[in-house]
Amino acid sequence: MDQLHENKEKTMISRILFVAALIAVMLSTGELSAEVITTKVLIEQADAARKEAASIGYEWRDTASLITKAKEALANGQEEDAQKLARKALIEGQQALEQGRLMSKQWEIYIPKS
C-alpha cells in the first residue's frame, strides 16, 4: 500500500516538473509568452461562441470581423490590441448566444395582445 502511494507521488512530481520545464523553455525562448497563450485562447473561445450563436441564427454583425482583426493584430505582434479585440468578440459571441437562447423561449411575449 505504501509502495503504491510512493509510486503515485513520484509520477505526480515528475509530471509537474515536466510541465514546469516546458513552460520555462517556452518563456525563455520567447517563442510563446503567457500573454500570447491567453490571446489565442480568447480568440478560440470567441470563435466558438460566435459559431454557436450562428448555429441558432443569432450571430451578430461584427463578431467575425473582430475575430479576424484580433488574429491580424496578434500576427503583427500587437498583443494589447489583439487582446482587446478578442475580448470584445468573446463578449459579443456570448451575448448573442444568450440572446438566442432567451428569444427561443420568450419571443411570443412580444406579440401584441388582442
Binding site: 450562428a54 441564427g57 443569432y58 450571430e59 451578430w60 454583425r61 461584427d62 463578431t63 467575425a64 459579443e92 440572446q99 428569444m103 427561443s104 419571443w107 411570443e108 412580444y110 406579440i111 401584441p112 395582445k113 388582442s114
Partner: protein, 285 residues
C-alpha cells in the same frame, strides 16, 4: 372466421376515419390560428392609426405620413422604377438559349405576383417569386441570377407591375406550411443583434415613431409593393435586400437573400397582409 374478418375490417375502417377526422381538425386549427393572428395584427394597427384606411397600408409608410405621401405621389408621376420595369419586360420576353421564354414557365403571361410566396408541399419549403424566376432559368439551362438586385429585381418589377391590383391571399393549409409560417412569425418577433431589436420592435411597437429623420413604417402591407426603387440604393432592389439591410441596421449578421429564414419571414409578413392588393413596384427613400 368470417365474423372475425368483418370485425377487424370494421375496426380498421373506424381507425382510418378517426385519423382522417383528426387531420381535418388539425388543418382547421392551422387556418383558425392564422386567422386569429391576422385579426390581432390588424386590430393593433387599427387602434394605433384609426384614421388610416385598411387598403392604404399597401402604400407602406406613406399610409401614415401625409406630407411624405404627398411628395411620394408627385414622384409617382414620373416613377424612378419605370426604366427597371421596361428593362424587366425585355428580359422577360427575351428567349433563352433553348428558344423558350419565361412565359412557358409562368402562366397568364406572367401575371402571377399574387401566387407568391406559397408553401410547396413537394419541396417542403416556401417558394418566392424571385426563387421561381431562378428555378425557371435553371430548368431552361440558364445560370441563376443574383438575388438582391439587378436583372432579377427588374424581371420581378415587371411581373409585379402587370399583376397590380391582384389580392394578397396566401394560404396556410398544411402542417408544413404552418411550420414555415411559425418560423417566420418567430423571426419577426424575436429580438436580434447588438441593438436587441426585432422586426416587430421597429414596425409594430414603434411603427409611426421616428428613427433619426425617418418615420418607421407599419409592418402591415410591408410585402405588397416590392421590389422597390430606393433613392438610397439608386436602383431597384428586392425585399430580401431590404431584409438584409434591416438585419445590418440592428447589428445582426444578415442572412443570405432567399435563405430559408428570409423566405419564412416573407411568408409570415405576406400572410399578415392578406386582403390588401399587390401594388409593386414602388419608390422609396
Amino acid at each position: 372466421m368470417k365474423q372475425t374478418l368483418f370485425k377487424r375490417s370494421l375496426a380498421l375502417l373506424l381507425v382510418l376515419v378517426a385519423m382522417m377526422a383528426a387531420r381535418q381538425v388539425v388543418a382547421a386549427d392551422f387556418q383558425a390560428n392564422v386567422q386569429t393572428d391576422i385579426k390581432v395584427f390588424r386590430d393593433f394597427f387599427a387602434a394605433r392609426f384609426p384614421e388610416v384606411k385598411f387598403a392604404d397600408y399597401a402604400n407602406g409608410v406613406y399610409a401614415i405620413d401625409a406630407d411624405a405621401c404627398q411628395q411620394w405621389k408627385e414622384i409617382e408621376e414620373f416613377p424612378p422604377y419605370s426604366i427597371a420595369v421596361e428593362d424587366g419586360k425585355v428580359l422577360f420576353e427575351k428567349p433563352f438559349a433553348n428558344g423558350k421564354t419565361y412565359t412557358a414557365y409562368f402562366q397568364n403571361g406572367g401575371v402571377v405576383r399574387q401566387n407568391y410566396p406559397y408553401y410547396d408541399e413537394k419541396k417542403g419549403t416556401v417558394v418566392t417569386l424571385e426563387m421561381a424566376i431562378n428555378e425557371c432559368r435553371v430548368a431552361n439551362g440558364e445560370k441563376p441570377l443574383e438575388y438582391k438586385g439587378g436583372d432579377i429585381a427588374k424581371i420581378s418589377a415587371y411581373m409585379a407591375f402587370i399583376s397590380r391590383g391582384k389580392p394578397v391571399d396566401v394560404k396556410v393549409e398544411s402542417e408544413g406550411a404552418y411550420k414555415a409560417y411559425m418560423k417566420g412569425k418567430e423571426f419577426f418577433y424575436a429580438k436580434r443583434g447588438q441593438l436587441n431589436m426585432s422586426c416587430a420592435g421597429c414596425h409594430v411597437k414603434y411603427a409611426g415613431g421616428w428613427v433619426r429623420s425617418e418615420i418607421l413604417s407599419p409592418a402591415l402591407g410591408h410585402t405588397t409593393h416590392f421590389p422597390v426603387f430606393r433613392s438610397k440604393w439608386g436602383e431597384i432592389g428586392t425585399l430580401h435586400k431590404r431584409y438584409g439591410g434591416c438585419s445590418d441596421n440592428i447589428g445582426a449578421k444578415s442572412f443570405a437573400a432567399q435563405s430559408e429564414e428570409y423566405r419564412n419571414l416573407e411568408f409570415f409578413e405576406t400572410v399578415m397582409s392578406n386582403g390588401l392588393s399587390f401594388n409593386g413596384p414602388a419608390s422609396r427613400k
